[in-house]
Subunit: 256 residues, 2 copies
């Protein structure tokens, strides 16, 4: 597959488009509902920007859909070229969402968190692939392998659980970082103070099962500290509840 | 302060004891309620192990209490040497917990997460210090500066908020890693798949405000995915509830 049309211009589409072009694949067009977004990415990777689905070329080897999952169905509904090779990049969506539009469909899910504000090489990112038939799976594998050295097969079912796990390990974790920042800033303290802690906690989880390296008042059963923290969070009932729930979970965890 | 008695043999005491000795400070004794634990640490740092408080020497320049916070009060109650320099290492405890036992007291709180299973140099760890008077604060600063290049003053009040923030950023985060591991293992998948995600999420928070780099279905308002994840977690009502609460928090966050 040497000639791709990229549908989408968000975080994943941006990283993917750059990686495709970096690997020598031609991205002929970038489609986005918002023409400015299409142009921004298309400009970076030497593609044509389109915001009208009717203008999408019919000669691409594959159409890669990298959209907010909610938008994918709407775009597919209006997509003009049926029975072409359609590929999506979504962790949580089954291959089946593409089947009603084409018999030739696949998935390339890069298992990483992307932000436009932080550049990242796809070359070390695991890409999980799936396809409607063995022949296409091989072609998807060849394409994915041009982007990354870590390509694995995963079924739609497996991808779903992986995505849930990723939400806990990444999205929810980042939200906890935000809460820590809020607590500090609201009390005139600098978020930098806990940044080394954030890195160390992550690095520990790279080497150990997180169950084995849990630290803090809850796992020590230090109810006095837990209570004093709850007291401190008195002004924010929601945050207090989250602290209580998470502490209770940790206290109730079976010990290893 | 060249001659220290270390009260405690847990994660923090172990790292502190090793760092003190590495910095040329003599740790004459290590006390722990459990003689085996006292011996384990004392053996590593060339100290005498004691498990009887009555056997603690009275000639130390300072007594550093590095205990589970719940235990500190009990041990202080029985501690034989009043009015010596008493120092604790706890983030959440006020300096006041020491005042009723000595007029000369201080705090040295290393702001990091310690596990016995992972070695770590204290030299880059921020140590927050406090003391009952300016003279002792200077002496505590000199001691802490032998261990780390990052020593800052922090009041008991500031330390409390810092500790709450650290619980969110580190302890609760690690618990989320555990939950991710559970979801994966229960579905025959390898925790290694999300480890790169964990590291990237942490690294992003070192460079950005976590509010600005939040990713995932909740922040995208992708209710379909959130619902499908909740459905997937159907077998574990508690976990489902945590997923729902955290997603609601992220969805309700003011946008920046």
């Amino acid at each position: 597959m040497k000639n791709i049309v990229l549908i989408g211009s968000g975080n994943v589409a941006t990283h993917l488009g750059e990686a495709l072009v970096g690997a020598g694949v031609v991205v002929t067009q970038v489609w986005s509902r918002t023409v400015d977004n299409a142009q921004l990415l298309a400009g970076k990777i030497g593609s044509e920007a389109v915001s009208d689905l009717a203008l999408i070329r019919d000669d691409a080897d594959a159409y890669i859909f990298s959209l907010v999952d909610d938008a994918l169905g709407q775009v597919l509904e209006l997509f003009p070229h049926k029975d072409k090779v359609l590929i999506h990049t979504a962790g949580s969506l089954s291959l089946d969402v593409l089947r009603e539009y084409s018999a030739h469909c696949g998935v390339m899910y890069p298992l990483q968190t992307f932000s436009k504000s932080k550049s990242m090489s796809l070359s070390d990112v695991r890409i999980l692939i799936e396809a409607s038939d063995v022949g296409l799976l091989d072609r998807v594998r060849v394409l994915a392998s041009r982007l990354s050295s870590r390509v694995s097969d995963a079924s739609s079912e497996q991808r779903k659980y992986l995505h849930v796990a990723a939400v806990f390990a990444c999205n929810f974790t980042n939200h906890l970082y935000s809460l820590a920042e809020d607590v500090l800033v609201q009390n005139g303290l600098d978020f930098n103070l806990v940044r080394p802690l954030i890195l160390e906690t992550a690095q520990k989880a790279l080497l150990h099962s997180p169950h084995d390296v849990q630290t803090g008042p809850a796992v020590r059963g230090d109810q006095k500290i837990v209570d004093s923290h709850l007291e401190l969070l008195n002004g924010d009932a929601d945050l207090q509840k989250l602290y209580r729930d998470l502490s209770a979970r940790i206290m109730g965890e079976p010990r290893f």
